[in-house]
């Protein structure tokens, strides 16, 4: 009998950190102090918030638009919107979560007006039986490209849930609050995202 407990919990142990990890409690409190300072008229406080969260915001945006220029524009747009809405930040979630929400929204708005992407992937076409050995860098790059295309082809809710959960290590509760749905729906979206990913990359659940 297979030991299902041996399947690695989320996130995978030893997996490289894809982006800035979610801030701890101390940093979250510091975020609130900086928010207060910014609201009291100290722009340098907001600049510190930008410095602290710019990488994570950029990574969120990049995963939706897949190019540096658009990701940079969306990152700027995210912080500008955050500044303008800072007075309405109700602190029911962490500042980083609130910021992620803005980043996801601006990114989804951006991709919704872009032209349709490539044709749906044919799972059989993805498996290149003539590929070099698994350790070959070229094959790895090709596989990574296929993964990117498969993620990009996901429906918006599944894509958002997968990105936020997988790469930004937000809890299901945070993701639910961020996208405005329930925890159960977030988990279901993540499940279906992974199922679709598996299907597109040549396997089936």
């Amino acid at each position: 009998m297979r030991d299902h407990a041996s399947i690695a919990p989320w996130p995978l142990p030893g997996a490289p950190a894809m982006t800035a990890a979610s801030p701890g409690a101390a940093e979250a409190d510091d975020d609130l102090a900086l928010v207060d300072a910014a609201l009291s008229g100290q722009p340098e406080a907001f600049d510190r918030l930008v410095t602290r969260h710019r990488r994570a915001v950029y990574h969120v945006c990049y995963r939706f638009v897949r190019n540096h220029e658009d990701a940079a524009d969306l990152t700027q747009d995210t912080f500008v919107r955050a500044w303008r809405a800072l007075g309405s930040f109700r602190r029911q979630a962490r500042f980083s979560t609130w910021l992620h929400r803005i980043a996801v929204n601006v990114s989804l708005n951006k991709v919704s007006v872009k032209t349709p992407g490539t044709e749906p992937l044919d799972p059989e076409a993805l498996v290149d039986v003539g590929a070099a050995a698994p350790g070959d860098r070229l094959a790895a790059d090709e596989r990574a490209r296929l993964v990117r295309e498969a993620i990009d082809a996901l429906p918006p809710r599944q894509r958002s849930a997968l990105i936020l959960r997988t790469y930004h290590e937000l809890s299901h509760q945070e993701v639910a609050r961020l996208v405005g749905t329930s925890v159960g729906a977030v988990k279901a979206n993540v499940f279906h995202a992974l199922a679709n990913l598996r299907r597109r990359l040549g396997g089936a659940l």
């Binding site: 009998m1 297979r2 299902h4 407990a5 399947i7 690695a8 919990p9 989320w10 995978l12 997996a15 894809m18 982006t19 910014a38 609201l39 008229g41 907001f46 600049d47 930008v50 410095t51 710019r54 990488r55 950029y58 990574h59 990049y62 995963r63 540096h68 940079a72 990152t75 700027q76 912080f79 500008v80 500044w83 303008r84 809405a85 800072l86 007075g87 309405s88 790895a140 596989r143 990574a144 993964v147 993620i151 997968l162 997988t166 790469y167 299901h172 925890v183 159960g184 988990k187 279901a188 993540v190 499940f191 279906h192 992974l194 199922a195 990913l197 598996r198 990359l201 396997g203 659940l205």
Partner: protein, 191 residues
């Protein structure tokens, strides 16, 4: 056997937080174990997706770009922005009303005659007369008179020459006063 795992329960199993009662089902259900294994493999695939690291100069530039974009905003929360959208059109409307009130000064016969009279006056150079002028208003008029020296035409563009501008913007009384001052400055004997 109990019902197979729901999608959210599969994710709980992936997270290692599936309740004991449902873990028991997993032990007995090959299909659910296969599903969990497939989801785990897909997650491992997803981890291949990396964000290319931009230039190290990019990160400070984000701060600069944000600061530049925020330079137009006065304060967070947009308290000043609430009335800014009203201020700009209001100021523009006020300026337009002022411009129209000036430009709409009727050019009756007296205005036409006065403008013609100004045009006929010889544009004598009056630069020397500006020396030692104590009255700022007169000094301004003298300076304006110096501008109509034919020897130094000014590119006044669509408005035309100073006389035409005076006829357009000054009242009749103002035009007569200006004319008198100019005549007095021209007629003043050199010191």
């Amino acid at each position: 056997m109990s019902a197979c795992l729901r999608p959210d329960e599969v994710i709980d199993a992936l997270d290692g937080v599936l309740p004991a009662s449902r873990r028991a089902h997993l032990d007995c259900c090959a299909a659910c174990r296969a599903t969990l294994a497939a989801v785990s493999a897909a997650l491992h695939e997803a981890r291949r997706d990396e964000v290319p690291e931009p230039s190290p100069y990019f990160w400070p530039s984000i701060n600069a770009r944000v600061s530049a974009a925020l330079a137009q905003d006065a304060a967070p929360g947009g308290t000043r922005r609430r009335w800014w959208p009203l201020l700009v059109p209001a100021a523009a409307l006020a300026g337009l009303v002022l411009a129209l009130s000036i430009a709409s000064t009727p050019r009756d016969a007296r205005d036409v005659a006065t403008a013609a009279a100004i045009d006929r006056e010889p544009a004598a150079p009056v630069e020397a007369a500006a020396d030692g002028v104590d009255d700022p208003a007169l000094a301004l008029v003298v300076d304006l008179a110096a501008l109509v020296d034919d020897a130094e035409p000014l590119p006044l563009g669509p408005i035309g020459d100073l006389g035409e501008m005076a006829a357009r913007t000054l009242t009749v009384d103002e035009q007569e006063a200006l004319q008198a001052l100019l005549r007095a400055a021209v007629d003043r004997p050199p010191s």
